[in-house]
Symmetry: C2
Subunit: 147 residues, 2 copies
């Protein structure tokens, strides 16, 4: 399934990424990273709960230990990020795994009653959020390199 | 402060650690870890929001990539784990850093208005949960070896 050698990311959904990334930079003793806006829907082909969405996100990344600490500010709705922020407030949203064979993993999880919550593309890869909150206690993201 | 080479743990607060650890083991393709109950208050000297507490927790750990994935089931109240579960439900509770000089870090964070939420001891070390949710978007745990 996910494998044990591939946790690559822990991600926090925040209301104001500019304030949070400065506070994290200070806490880590690290430079303030740039903020990146995810691409428009025609590039990223985002689907949330089975339907198309125009929602995007602002992202900032810190390299911390062996993983990436990701800050995510939802832009527009609906999305997994916006739903989490609106329902639960700021907090740790997911952990991510590098995988191969996203479709096979998603199919195996579907058999356990776990749906894909959101999926999309980015330059060089695709991502899939599994709604594993009930099964595993948190959302899991699968990251897979493509092309 | 925390440093950037020392994220050691992501932790999920859960209602039923036995069910969740089996589901995680299957998802990771890993053995089911043992469940450990934290020591009694007279050993761990746990303090929550400034006062003593008898609360404990059941813990289980997976080694995933360079970090430890920790499952936590609160036992008794009050504690940071119980408060999180009661207020927010199951979810990612904190990320942890290995540090030296917990007291200096806690003092610097106190100047930013961040209180220590919970602190205690375990064999060979001490832990400190900082209530960084407002400042950083999630709870941060400091782990420090002692003795």
């Amino acid at each position: 399934m996910f494998g044990t050698d591939a946790v690559v990311q822990a991600a926090i959904v925040v209301r104001d990424i500019e304030a949070k990334k400065k506070a994290w930079a200070e806490a880590l003793g690290a430079p303030v990273p740039e903020t990146v806006l995810t691409g428009p829907a025609e590039e990223t082909n985002v689907r949330f709960e089975g339907g198309e969405t125009e929602a995007r996100a602002k992202l900032a990344f810190f390299r911390v230990g062996g993983i990436s600490l990701e800050l995510i500010e939802p832009v527009g709705r609906p999305s997994t990020w916006g739903k989490f922020l609106d329902e639960r407030g700021e907090g740790l949203h997911h952990i991510a795994f590098n995988v191969k064979g996203t479709d096979a993993i998603a199919a195996a999880m579907a058999e356990k009653g776990v749906p894909v919550q959101q999926a999309g593309e980015y330059k060089g890869g695709r991502y899939t959020y599994l709604d594993t909150t009930e099964l595993l206690g948190c959302i899991v993201e699968l990251l897979e390199k493509t092309g």
